[in-house]
Structure formats: structure tokens, C-alpha cells
Symmetry: C2
């Protein structure tokens, strides 16, 4: 007979850790560093701090590493440290604005993986403007998804920031190239960051900063009307049941002013003065469908998004790859299921890139480099469908294309945040961007060709 029970989210991700990028000791090194560095950069951006991040890897023995990531971010409030690091689905990034983190899972997965492979507690040293420096060691109660604080003591830091130090089973030799590539590409996504890597007794590697422009902080935006599925509608209606339909639209959604609301409601034959709590189920159904289909709402407010930008992105690519030419383009803000998104990209030609008939693709989501699971990624799919022969690639050339998708909700295919699902609205924008970058490349190549031919005469 069947026994029914539940498992905690920590237990779920413990059993299925390959879904979060911790399936083997090679990818685990990359995933650990990626989750920690991502958090560090997020922690700098909200207060417009120029990120200074130090990644240290020490070989403990043949398959155990010690990894630490230190940042100069805003730090973690003392009372939040245990849950932030020791509980799955707990974090500060659940609001509707672009951040690198999104699930409340990343660092906890790294700590969990370290705990089950090395039995060594994680050390967290953090200081904020309001909490003095504190050093905690903790482990995770996986079955109950709860942190276990093992020790806690005061310890000053020279300034705000966080250092996370853990031991993991890892294959350094197999993973180091990807780690180096990840940290280098991190400065293309975040050109104003300075990243240092120390591995055992080797000489430090440093990347960036390649720009001194600090992105403006993002602000949380109300949902866009195109996101109005029944769950969102129900939650909004429960919050203010006495709102009229007109109030409901204007107060709850971005890009819906008084006139737009009136226009929409009359177009759909709704009574703008009806209380939302009094709407029939049929009316709510009609409301949800028409909000998602009405095409006269303005594009989303892009202040919840934060692109890399033309100057910083080109500057990073030039410093890292010394290309012969580089061009940038970005699309207007758009939305998928009501979630604002923007695509930006750069195309470059230069001997740092391999000679191929298809441009080498560097993928980014919310400015974070994506290095695994390329072949199922929407960006790769569109790359393959683009007719690069029309853009000067009749013969193979050393061309690279860097594409960054910014969104308040990136549609990742899996919890390891390595590839983007096929979403029609996003696919459409990628297509336009790649074609536009192709045209820019073609124009530059023709110009260069012409200069050559003129020189020869």
C-alpha cells in the first residue's frame, strides 16, 4: 500500500541537485563560484558600489577544494544570515526588478553540496551599515529546510561586504578553464567590476574594471496588464475588493493611466464603476483574457531593467579580445507574459575568436554569462536560424556575438540558470537583434574590403 508524505524544497534539490548545476564535481566548482559571484555583484549594484570581488580556490586534497568569494557589497543583516544561506526558497530578490539572483536557492545549493560531499560547515563573514562584522558557521537541516547555526562571533571587516567560504568535492583541473572563462565574461556583463582569482600558489588573475560607469539602481515596477493571469487578478482583487474596475486597473498595473483604463474598459464593454468583488466569474474570465490580448497598452516601464550599455560593453570586449571591429545594438523594451525584458548585443571580428561559419555565441541573462546547456538555449536556436551568409559570412570568419537578455523574469529552462526557454515574444526580439548586428557587421566588412581594394589600386 502507498505511503503519502511530503519533502522539503531542500530535500527536493538535494535529491535532484543536477537540476541546479551540482550534478558532477566538475560543474559543481563552476556552479559554486557562479552562485557566489552573482550574489556579490547583486549586493554591490543596489547601492551603486563598484564591485571588487576576490575568488580564492585552494586544493585541500585530490578531490576536495576550499572556495571563498569576498565582496565589498552591502552585506547581509545579521539576523537574516542563517535563513538567507541555510534555507532554500528564501531571499531578498522576489520583487519585480532585474537582479541576477531570482529563486532564493543559489548559495544554499552550493552550501548543501559542500555539506554532503565534505561535511565541512560554511563560514560566512558579513558586515552591513547597520550590523557590525559577524562571523557565522552554519550547516543545513535538509529534511526540514532549516539552517543550523554552529557558531557565531563578532569579527570586524574593514568595510561592508561579505565573504563566504566553503569546502566542496570538486575537480579543479577539469573545471578551471570554465571558471576562468566565466570570470572573464563576467566583466563583459558587468564592465565596472573588478574580479581577482587566486588559485593555490599561482599568480593572481585580474579582470576589469573596463568602465567607470555604474548602472543606475533598478526600481520595482507594478505588473504589466499583459501578465494578468487568474492568479494575479485574484490576488490583486483580494487586496482591494472595493475598488472599482477603473481604480483596479489604474492602481494595480503599470502603463495604465486614467484615459487608457477608460478606453480599454469601454472597448471591452465593461462598466468602469463596478466593484471588483461584485464581478461575475464570466466577467473575470473576460477581463483576464482581454488584458492579456489588448494590444494598445504601452510598452513596459524599463526602469526595472538594467542593460550593460553600449560604451561599457564595447569597452570590455575591446580590452578582453582586442577585436578589429565591434558594433553594438539594443532593442526597445518589450514584455513576455507581461514581464518586461530588453535584449542588447554586440558583434565583434578579431583573431581572438575561432574561425567558424557560424559566429561564436556568448550568452548572457541579466548580465550573467551562461556557459552550459547551449544547444537547447533559445539564443543558440535563433543563432542557427539566422542567415549569416547574407551578412558577410559566406566564408568562415572569426566573428563573435555577445547577446544579453535582461528581464524581471528570465525564463530559465532549469534551476541551474544556464539556458533560456523558447518564448515566442523573446524569440522574435532576438531574431531582430541578430539580424541588425549582422547588418552592422556586413557594413563594416564591406567598408574594410573597399579600403583594401582601394589600397591595392
Amino acid at each position: 500500500d502507498e505511503t503519502f508524505s511530503s519533502i522539503s524544497p531542500a530535500e527536493f534539490f538535494y535529491r535532484n541537485r543536477q537540476m541546479a548545476g551540482f550534478g558532477n564535481p566538475t560543474q559543481a566548482v563552476y556552479s559554486t563560484i557562479r552562485e557566489l559571484v552573482e550574489n556579490s555583484i547583486d549586493a554591490c549594484e543596489q547601492k551603486q558600489i563598484m564591485p571588487k570581488i576576490r575568488v580564492s580556490i585552494h586544493t585541500i586534497d585530490s578531490d576536495e577544494l576550499s572556495i571563498s568569494v569576498d565582496d565589498n557589497g552591502v552585506g547581509v543583516p545579521t539576523e537574516e544570515i542563517p535563513a538567507a544561506f541555510g534555507r532554500v526558497l528564501y531571499g531578498s530578490k522576489y520583487d519585480a526588478r532585474q537582479r541576477r539572483g531570482t529563486f532564493g536557492l543559489g548559495v544554499t545549493m552550493a552550501i548543501l553540496y559542500g555539506q554532503i560531499t565534505t561535511d565541512t560547515p560554511v563560514l560566512i563573514h558579513s558586515q552591513t551599515e547597520n550590523s557590525p562584522g559577524i562571523l557565522l558557521s552554519l550547516s543545513i537541516d535538509v529534511e526540514n529546510n532549516e539552517p543550523i547555526v554552529l557558531s557565531q562571533e563578532s569579527l570586524m571587516r574593514k568595510s561592508t561586504g561579505t565573504c563566504v567560504k566553503l569546502h566542496i568535492r570538486g575537480d579543479l583541473k577539469r573545471s578551471i578553464d570554465r571558471v576562468v572563462e566565466y570570470l572573464s565574461l563576467t566583466t563583459v556583463g558587468t564592465p565596472h567590476a573588478c574580479i581577482v582569482l587566486d588559485v593555490d600558489m599561482q599568480e593572481s588573475l585580474t579582470w576589469g574594471p573596463y568602465s567607470d560607469e555604474c548602472p543606475s539602481p533598478t526600481i520595482t515596477c507594478k505588473p504589466h496588464p499583459r501578465s494578468a493571469d487568474f492568479e494575479i487578478l485574484r490576488r490583486l482583487m483580494d487586496k482591494n475588493p472595493d475598488f472599482t474596475l477603473h481604480q483596479f486597473l489604474v492602481e494595480n498595473f503599470q502603463q495604465v493611466g486614467t484615459r487608457t483604463a477608460t478606453k480599454f474598459l469601454s472597448f471591452m464593454a465593461f462598466d468602469p464603476s463596478e466593484r471588483v468583488s461584485k464581478l461575475s466569474r464570466r466577467a473575470v474570465t473576460k477581463l483576464s483574457r482581454s488584458l492579456q490580448k489588448y494590444d494598445a497598452f504601452s510598452r513596459p516601464d524599463s526602469r526595472c531593467l538594467s542593460v550593460i550599455g553600449k560604451r561599457p560593453m564595447q569597452s570590455a570586449i575591446k580590452s578582453l579580445y582586442d577585436p578589429l571591429l565591434v558594433a553594438y545594438d539594443s532593442r526597445d523594451p518589450s514584455e513576455w507574459n507581461g514581464h518586461p525584458f530588453i535584449l542588447e548585443g554586440a558583434i565583434a571580428l578579431g583573431s581572438s575568436f575561432p574561425v567558424t561559419s557560424l559566429p561564436t555565441l556568448y550568452r548572457f541573462a541579466n548580465r550573467v554569462p551562461l556557459l552550459y546547456d547551449a544547444s537547447e538555449d533559445l539564443l543558440t536556436k535563433v543563432l542557427r536560424k539566422t542567415r549569416w551568409t547574407r551578412y558577410g559570412l559566406k566564408s568562415p570568419k572569426s566573428v563573435a556575438i555577445f547577446i544579453n537578455l535582461c528581464s524581471t523574469r528570465v525564463p530559465y529552462k532549469a534551476a541551474g540558470k544556464q539556458s533560456i526557454a523558447s518564448i515566442p515574444q523573446i524569440e522574435e526580439e532576438i531574431k531582430h537583434l541578430m539580424n541588425s548586428l549582422g547588418r552592422k557587421l556586413n557594413k563594416s566588412l564591406k567598408k574594410t574590403d573597399k579600403i583594401y581594394r582601394d589600397k591595392r589600386r
Copy 2:
């Protein structure tokens, strides 16, 4: 300033439903049917019932469908229905034996997707040997991950079983081919099942049964010693802290008898009489590593696994594809991280399959067909690395290969259970299986060629 909070597992999968296969209205139709049919077959297998499953799809309007799946399985106990269907990470398949379901997520995702796209409660009609027929309608409190029972009434069924009926937003036209392919391939994975598909007013489609052999029920097995990470060790030690090391090994692990335990402990210089609660941290570390590395433990007990089997699999392939030839092979039971697994497969040649230089690959995990995310799947990766030209495919032929991975823990890449992660031990076994199937194909092709040449003389 940052606000810290947590989200429920239902909220997590609501926000990121593309990870579970519900990212667009085409895949959602497939995922809904797949999750329901999978549950139905699981519900038959434990009591060796020959599955009879009816899938009905009705068009409600241009983008809304009603989908119901009815089975003759063991049913769901009345008191368990709300949580089983209305709570994420709640189910009956968390023990260590092979089942199609594994997360306690699938049907709840389908219901959640239906709820947010159509606001229509799900209807569940179920009857078990011990609970009389009951009809429930329920919805999901997403923020709290709790079921909401909307109505409940007695309603007889002619026998035990379950019918789940829900409305979803779906694109029938775009998804029907995949649904038909999924149901047809389901009978290759489960040849003794009978599947009926009704779509609106069209004529029913029926597949199977193609075999009357009912697989023997699987039994739950103790963990294999190679799964001994620190989390498992700690849990086992906490259960019986007064066990001696020797008792600990023999009582807790499969394939560790008295002599094997003694041999292992002396080889690793442990004291077999030491109480596990008294072990030093260094000793526990040594224990975990040596259990995972010691290569003299027997292969896992395969009674927790359930392959399709040669006769049933070949019979289904013959009935569905009428091939010129079909051959079967299976590997011995093995383990990955201590989780038992078996690979089996068939190779077929026939005009039902497209003419290609690489065999057409049909993937299965725990006997369930996998139709999405092929290019990142480990099976596809090994297929591409296999030198098919050595096995008679110098020129393109109409060859298909069907591979089924059975495991107590399938390493899915994402919660939608569509592709298998790259695990070295599994990759190795797939390689051997594909080479062996290739050799069988080659042998048959040479025989056929010889018959042809002899005929011509």
C-alpha cells in the same frame, strides 16, 4: 533596503512553470497529458493491473481545452486526494524503487497551470478498494502550497481507478501530433497497456496492448553503499547511534553481507566493533569516501527496477512500425552514486522510420517516452558519438533506436522530466548498449545482404 522573505514551492513553480514543461500553450497540452497518463500507469503497476487508460480532449473555444484522463488503477485514498493533487512536493513515490513519478509535483503543476489560465477547478473522481467512489473539485492556494476543497460528494465508479478532468489554455492544433506520438510510444514503454484517445467528435485512436506480460512489482531496496554521502551517513547514524560499524553496514546497506562488511572494514583499517556515535569526524569522512570508492561491493539488487523486457518491447515495436528487423539488448544492473539503474534498448530497420545517417532516437526514462529537449540529453550525446558507419550505416538507412533508462533516481536535467543529465557511469553503459545494438544491426544487415547476393546469382 532589501526585504527578505520566502516563497512556497507552489509559488516557485508558478513563477517558473517553464521549468516543469508548462512554459507555452503547445507544450502545456503535452505536459498535462503526460503527467496524468504517467500517474495512471504507475497506479496500475503496483497491483499488476493491465492498464486501460482513456484520454479525452474537448475544444471549449479557440484556445481553451478540457482534458480528462481516466484509469483503472488502484485509485487515491479519499483523505489523500486534496494534498496529492493540490500540494507541490507531496506524493507517494519518494521511496527507493522505480516509478514513473518521482517529485510529487507533476499533476499539481497541470492543475496549477489550468487554474491560472482558465480559473476552472479540477474534478477528481476516484475509488480505491478501501474508499468508496468520491468526486472532489479543488483549487490550489499557490502562496501557501495548500489545496482548497471546493466540493465533495459520493459518486460510484464501476471499479477502482481515477479520473482527472481539468481545463487548460492550450493550442490543440500545434500539440496534437506530439500527443499522438507520446501515447503511441507509451505502449513501447508499457506494451501491456491499452490507451484510447478521444478528440472532440473524431474517431477514437487506440494503441496496445501488444503484450499480456505484466511486469512484477518492484520492491524498495536499501541504499547501495556507493550512495554514502555525508547526509545519508548522518541520517543512518542518527537512526541507530548504538550500532557497531559492522552492524551499521550490514543493516543499512544492500549488497553488504557479514563477510563483505568485515572485509571492507579490515581493508580500510576500521574497528568493526566501534559504536557509530563514537566515530570521530575524521573517521566519518574516511568512511564516506571509502564507501563511495570501494570497488568490491556487488552490483545493486535489481528488484527495485522494472525493465520493459525483450518480448514485450519487440512486440510493441513490431505492431507499431512493422519493421524489417528488430533486435534487443540490455545491460547488467549498475549504479550511479549508489542509485541502481539498468539500460535496455532495441534497434529496428524499416520504412516507417526516416532515412538518415544517424539512427532516429526514441528516448525513454523509467519506461516513459521523452519528446522534448533532445539535443542536451545524454542519450542523444552518446548517439552522436557512436560510430554508426562501422555498423552498416555508411550510407543513410531507415534505422531507429529505442533506449530506456530505468533507475530509482533518473538524473533529469529539469523538473519537466524531458532530458537526462550527463552522468559518467550512465554514459558508459549507454555507449556499450548502443555499440552492442549497432553490432546486432550490422550482423542482420550483412545476413540480409548475403541473402540478396545469393538470390541474384
